[in-house]
């Protein structure tokens, strides 16, 4: 992307990455109104930062950096001015469909809840891991070493496994 991003291309990229943006918003905001504000802020910052996109990096690396940075800043700002809304209150829970899917949907909601309970940086790490980014990509996005990424992911996964195990007991 050059100094002035092409509008049509930009819209296309947003469309292609809408799920990522939505999932990041949902991971850092508990209520609908905040999620919309955050999505707006992320898109604005992506547009504003488009000129600084370095083609040495992949577009997704750049996009994750901008989106997660904006989300963390937004979350921290909200944390300063109000108490965090209890996690279960207003998360976008995936609606249940049929009985056969019930357990699966419960797992999605549980995973979301678990992500919400993580600290800001761990939350970013976990989203990237779940999006199946390589350790190298995660290291570039977060700004820590690959070894560090591996250790931290393994630790978070361990906690997550315990959480699911406790629920299933």
């Amino acid at each position: 992307m050059n100094q002035t991003p092409d509008k049509e291309n930009f819209l296309k990229l947003i469309e292609e990455n809408k799920r990522i943006i939505f999932k990041i918003c949902n991971a850092y905001c508990s209520n609908k109104h905040d999620r919309e504000d955050l999505a707006q802020e992320i898109i604005y910052q992506l547009w504003k930062s488009a000129g600084s996109f370095n083609s040495d990096f992949r577009f997704s690396t750049w996009m994750y950096r901008v989106a997660l940075n904006v989300a963390i800043s937004f979350y921290r700002k909200a944390k300063n001015i109000k108490a965090i809304v209890p996690i279960s209150d207003d998360l976008v829970h995936v609606p249940e469909t049929s009985g056969t899917h019930h357990i699966h949907e419960e797992n999605i909601n549980l995973l979301q809840q678990f992500i919400h309970e993580l600290r800001e940086l761990d939350r970013a790490l976990m989203i990237l891991y779940l999006e199946e980014k390589s350790h190298r990509d995660i290291s570039e996005i977060i700004g820590i070493s690959e070894t560090n990424v591996a250790t931290r992911i393994s630790r978070i996964k361990e906690k997550l496994k315990q959480r699911f195990a406790n629920i299933n007991q």
Partner: protein, 225 residues
């Protein structure tokens, strides 16, 4: 729960988002036909809001300094030496605070969200903490607020008791301002007097910034405790 299962759950989240049409709730995001919309969001941007507040303070500060300089220039007589020196010091200290604020605005504008998360967030948290600097500097004005109204005539005819009271107040404010200048730092943030001084929300935001800097430092270390 196997590793693959966790990733599978996350993948199915994608499908469910599509099926349940939750994403369509944000159609305004996805159908940005009028791109000017994005430009209008500039005013709403978090960082822009931050600089707007600081610019407002800088402008008020400049008006205050200009006003003080105007008064000083119209008071350059020996009888008003207390006023000239006091107002001069207040203007200088306010000027330094304005420079610090301008530096903060410059740093905010340098924040690049496409840098790594740790780097960007560390800069933002340090910026928040740097507001302590302005507070420390501004407290140095305190003693001069106890002397600007004095003049030689007043001192010549004032009763001894009043003079002692005046000296005591000025000395107390001098000690207090120097003590605050030396002690307002992130090391003393958890102390009760610090919390009272900065008020509830101001104190909370500073504590959160300090804790986040520590968290980032810990995050950078390869060897996790």
């Amino acid at each position: 729960m196997e590793e693959k299962n966790i990733v599978d759950i996350w993948r199915s989240y994608d499908q469910k988002l599509e099926e349940s049409r939750i994403l369509n709730m944000q159609s305004w995001v996805l159908n940005l036909k009028n791109f000017e919309f994005l430009q209008s969001q500039k005013a709403k941007s978090v960082l822009n809001r931050l600089t707007t507040g600081k610019w407002f303070t800088v402008i008020l500060g400049i008006i205050w300094v200009v006003f003080l300089v105007f008064l000083i220039l119209n008071s350059l007589t020996i009888n008003k030496i207390f006023f000239v020196v006091s107002a001069g010091m207040i203007a200088i200290i306010t000027g330094i605070a304005i420079v610090v604020y301008l530096k903060q605005i410059f740093l905010i504008r340098q924040i690049n969200h496409s840098n790594s998360i740790v780097e960007t967030q560390d800069k933002l948290a340090h910026l928040k903490l740097s507001t302590l600097w302005v507070t420390r500097i501004l407290f140095l004005q305190c003693p001069f607020h106890t002397t600007w109204f004095l003049n030689w005539e007043m001192l010549k005819h004032a009763p001894t008791g009043l003079l002692i009271f005046q000296v005591a107040i000025t000395v107390a404010f001098t000690f207090l301002s120097v003590w605050l200048y030396r002690n307002i730092s992130d090391k003393n943030m958890h102390k009760k007097w610090f919390k009272v001084l900065f008020g509830g929300s101001g104190w909370t935001s500073l504590i959160l910034a300090k804790d986040f800097i520590e968290e980032i430092d810990e995050y950078r270390q390869d060897h996790i405790a």
